[in-house]
Amino acid sequence: MKITKRDIVIGLLVLSALVALRVFWPTAKAEKIASPIAKATPIDSTVCIAPTEYMRSHHMQLLNEWRNTGARDSRPYVTADGKKFQKSLDTCLGCHSSNTYFCISCHQYANAKPTCWNCHLSPLDKP
């Protein structure tokens, strides 16, 4: 798609209007609930399970291990420094889905086509 100057100007106007609305409208707080079940409760984890460098190069191996053992052995995954995590893709997405393009931006660049999203809802699929 070719992006013209007009598109950019309109896009910027819309975005700034939305940001202004969000910032200055007190009742616009995150009250929306995507489904009757999902209540906006704190997300699972606030720290990454391994250093960023390691996760960047090895997340697929870790996730593969979690996939193979997660359902069968529901005990938590324990990191080297003793932190515990549920072996679930949602553990990762609890933080990383705040960026809708977190997974797809690299995967697309690397032409990686993981099958995760056949069943799991990717940040892009979320309502």
Binding site: K2, I3, I8, G11, L12, L15, L18, V19, R22, V23, A30, K32, I33, A34, S35, P36, I37, A38, K39, A40, T41, P42, I43, D44, R67, N68, A71, R72, D73, S74, R75, P76, K84, Q86, L89, D90, L93, G94, S97, S98, N99, T100, Y101, S105, N118, C119, H120, L121, P123, D125, K126, P127
Partner: protein, 258 residues
């Protein structure tokens, strides 16, 4: 600056602006629930827990579908709207279909006229788990007969071996047939089976199964069959209950009061 480079910079800045949107809270974060790590034990000792359910048909309202709907929503169960492709984890079926061998062929309507919630019985000796060639269906340490969708090859041996018809097969891509997507549970894909998981994902968060929680009449009681002091055990002690097709020796963990 060549054309492609211009396009690239434009598109990247759109991504950057989207980032500003995220940080200002314009786009919602995932609505994920916190998992309470204290509910996990590091040693899952087989035998301490056997989850079970008691369904009190004296309380169940005919025509009510609240539990079925709650289950559909909780697990993104698709609804294809026809019997051939039907997928159900929990459904209400005519009494005679749920208890075909109970010897009540000529019993009165007031006993056999209702439709009865039926689901996977989480059998203590599950034929489905024995039949599965990939061990995708297996019995967990807490008695739940679980299904690891990652391992399922879609051979449907489990469906053939389950005497209760508790397992459904995805003949078609399920996602388009899901009315309301619940974003805290995955969907399945075409070519795998699916069935009730006793809400193991909710148990992990210290909650009761969705059907139990949704029933306004408290028809469903959920609890640990191996704990003699649990509510379900006390009810089982005091009432006359029955299981589905007990003569098959699958030892169902779902009990009924009629």
């Amino acid at each position: 600056m060549n054309e492609e480079r211009r396009e690239f910079i434009k598109k990247t800045s759109i991504g950057f602006l989207a980032g500003i949107g995220v940080s200002s809270g314009l786009f919602l974060n995932f609505l994920l629930e916190k998992t309470d790590a204290s509910l996990w034990s590091d040693k899952n000792i087989a035998g301490t827990t056997r989850w079970g359910m008691l369904i009190d048909m004296r309380k169940c309202i005919d025509g009510c579908q609240k539990c079925v709907d709650a289950c559909r929503l909780a697990h993104n169960v698709p609804d294809f709207g026809n019997a051939t492709h039907q997928i159900a984890w929990l459904q209400k079926s005519p009494y005679r279909e749920v208890f075909p061998t109970s010897g009540e062929d000529f019993a009165g309507k007031e006993r056999t006229g209702k439709s009865v919630p039926s689901l996977c019985n989480h059998c203590a000796d599950p034929p489905c788990a024995s039949a599965c060639p990939t061990q995708a269906t297996f019995k967990r340490f807490d008695g739940i007969v679980a299904l690891d969708y990652h391992r399922c090859t879609g051979c449907r041996s489990c469906m053939a071996s389950c005497p209760y018809g508790a397992i459904s097969f995805n003949w078609k891509e399920p996602r388009p047939a899901i009315k309301a997507i619940n974003d805290i549970y995955p969907t399945r894909e075409m070519g795998v089976v699916e069935k009730c998981n006793f809400c193991s994902e909710r148990l992990l968060k210290g909650k009761l199964p969705a059907c139990v929680e949704s029933c306004p009449e408290k028809t469903l009681t959920f609890g640990n069959l191996n704990d003699p002091k649990s509510e379900i055990r006390l009810l089982l002690e005091k009432n006359q209950t029955m299981q589905r097709k007990p003569e098959l020796g699958t030892l169902p963990s779902v009990f009924y009061i009629i």
